[in-house]
Amino acid sequence: MSEKLMTMTEAIERFVPDGSSVAMGLALEPLIPFAAGHEIIRQGKRNLTLIGPISDILFDQLLGAGCVTKITAAWVGNVSEGLGYNYRRATERGEPHPITVEDHSNYSIAMALLAGALGVPYIPIRSLLGSDIARDHPTMRPHNSPLDGTPTLLVPALRPDVAVIHAQRADTAGRAHVWGGLGICEEAALAARGVIYTAEEIVPPEVILSDPNRVLAPGEKTLAVVHVPGGAHPSPVQGYYNRDHASFAEYHERSRTPEGFAAWLKEQVLDVPDRAAYLERLGVERWQALAIHTHLLAAPVDYGV
């Protein structure tokens, strides 16, 4: 089992080339890999296709930074605040440059990645029939079921080049425990050609192997494991820290204008070397306010033989 632990810089340099398709924000509001996203911005990646269900401001940040030419998602904005201004500027005015958007619903993006994970060409669903999402989508197509003639919408398999997933803990061989809200993390990890895990903790293999039902995907899918405490802030990590609602509000205000966003980006991303510096900038007090105040341990489970 090869060693997959590396720095964020190396992981993004090696496994997120310009032009690649990158699945992120797969657990919906929690576990969003902001630290990885910010490193993508710092490295000036270009022509990325971003894939995800909803994206709680991370996609908006990558759009504003000019890294993205295509969005394949069900929702892009700021969940607690509303619209994403960079998403609006990109789609309405082509700023900083035009992008293409492949609209999905949360069910259709989940089924597209599930089809990729299952190695099947498509999954025929009965949602979105009659919607303009189905009408305008470049690859979904209506098809009457050969079994009974009823209408279905074929959702073609989607296989991202890489999925970036923030996990509570991982080992250096690339196996991770992820818990809480799971969203489409598993479908994406299995459908992707490879996975980058960013993790709150790096633990010995025996910790991960002590609970194989909790492992997200086999280590053979893993490209890199990066140790990034706080790597999902301002999104929450079950059992580690809560959502920093104020950061989402602040981003909403400051990203209203291109100039405001540019200043935010310089201050929060470009002038910040890494996540440790980011958390230092955030300040101990604010960080501690997000800390877990009530620990809720899962009941013991015995895999004994």
């Binding site: 657990a27 919906l28 509001e29 929690p30 269900p53 909803i54 709680d56 998602a73 069900a74 929702w75 892009v76 904005g77 969940v79 607690s80 509303g82 619209l83 994403g84 998403y87 609006r88 789609t91 309405e92 609209d103 999905h104 619903s105 949360n106 069910y107 259709s108 989940a110 089924m111 599930l114 669903i125 009965r126 949602s127 979105l128 029939l129 009659g130 919607s131 303009d132 999402i133 305008d136 009823t150 209408p151 279905t152 818990w179 809480g180 809200g181 799971l182 969203g183 489409i184 993390c185 598993e186 479908e187 999104s235 929450p236 079950q238 059992g239 809560n242 959502r243 609602h245 809720l296």
Partner: protein, 258 residues
């Protein structure tokens, strides 16, 4: 209480109460975000203690969250859930017909209950790009009944939405069956001014009740077509003191309700 009610609550609080009233006891409710989160909590604590909540991030809850939620993925919504699974598995239950009722919001709703949360204006060069469907289009496609919540402004009630994100009744009548949707359709539209429903045959929107302080005339004047009025149209029953107390316990800062 009721004659003073208009001064005792915000429009959002009344909308939460109207939304809660759509939930029958024992129903499986696809909750979604914002006001419906409070409506679910309110219903559970009043007339629907056995209601079950579904969330598109993969959650099933038989109790409301212990804390105010700004997102369905906040840690308190996951702790104590009866099931936290994959979005695909949860949406599969929705596709099976597991949800009796679903809630969605929107930027625009039209005469036949079609919702737009994607593009205002031309799809290629939109005047406003909205965030998109999320799970809304699925909830609208697959729930047993749909309740829509939005602010009542003329621009938000065009005769035809510019983009159908979440299918309502299309162009009316049996459109849903014709396009292959397995069930459902909008049952209620809850706005800042009124509660509206849909006629049984043509599935056209009609005014069911105007909120205290508003009127059928004001509602029709703020609707982008010649809105039908139900024969039994009446004033919306205002919130009770109990309902308001519970809402304010759930949202003490008024994040969603002020």
């Amino acid at each position: 209480m009721s004659q003073h009610a208009p001064f005792d609550y915000t429009p959002q609080e009344l909308m939460v109460v109207c939304a809660a009233r759509e939930i029958k006891d024992g129903e499986v409710v696809f909750v979604g975000m914002r006001l419906p989160l409070l409506a679910f909590a309110l219903a559970k604590r009043t007339h629907a203690p056995n209601a079950i909540g579904l969330f598109e991030n993969g959650l099933v809850r038989d109790t409301p969250s212990s804390e105010l939620l700004l997102t369905m993925g906040d840690a308190p919504n996951i702790a104590g859930a009866e099931w936290a699974t994959r979005t695909g598995a949860l949406m599969g239950l929705l596709a099976q017909g597991f949800a009796n009722l679903g809630f969605v919001g929107g930027a625009e709703v039209d005469r036949f209950g079609n919702l737009n949360t994607s593009y205002i204006g031309d799809r290629a060069h939109p005047k406003v790009k909205l965030p998109g469907s999320g799970g809304g289009a699925d909830i609208a496609s697959l729930s047993g009944r749909l309740a829509i919540i939005l602010a009542h402004e003329k621009k938000r009630f065009p005769e035809h939405v510019s983009y159908i994100t979440s299918p309502g009744y299309g162009d009316g009548g049996d459109w849903r069956a014709r396009v292959g949707l397995p069930r459902g359709g909008p049952a209620a539209v809850i706005t800042t001014l009124a509660v509206l429903g849909f006629t049984a045959d043509t599935h056209e929107m009609e005014l069911r009740s105007w909120h205290p302080g508003s009127s059928a005339e004001e509602v029709r004047a703020n609707t982008g077509w010649d809105l039908r009025v139900a024969p039994d149209v009446h004033e919306t029953t205002p919130p009770t003191a109990d309902e308001l107390r519970i809402i304010r316990e759930c949202d003490p800062q008024g994040f969603w309700t002020r």
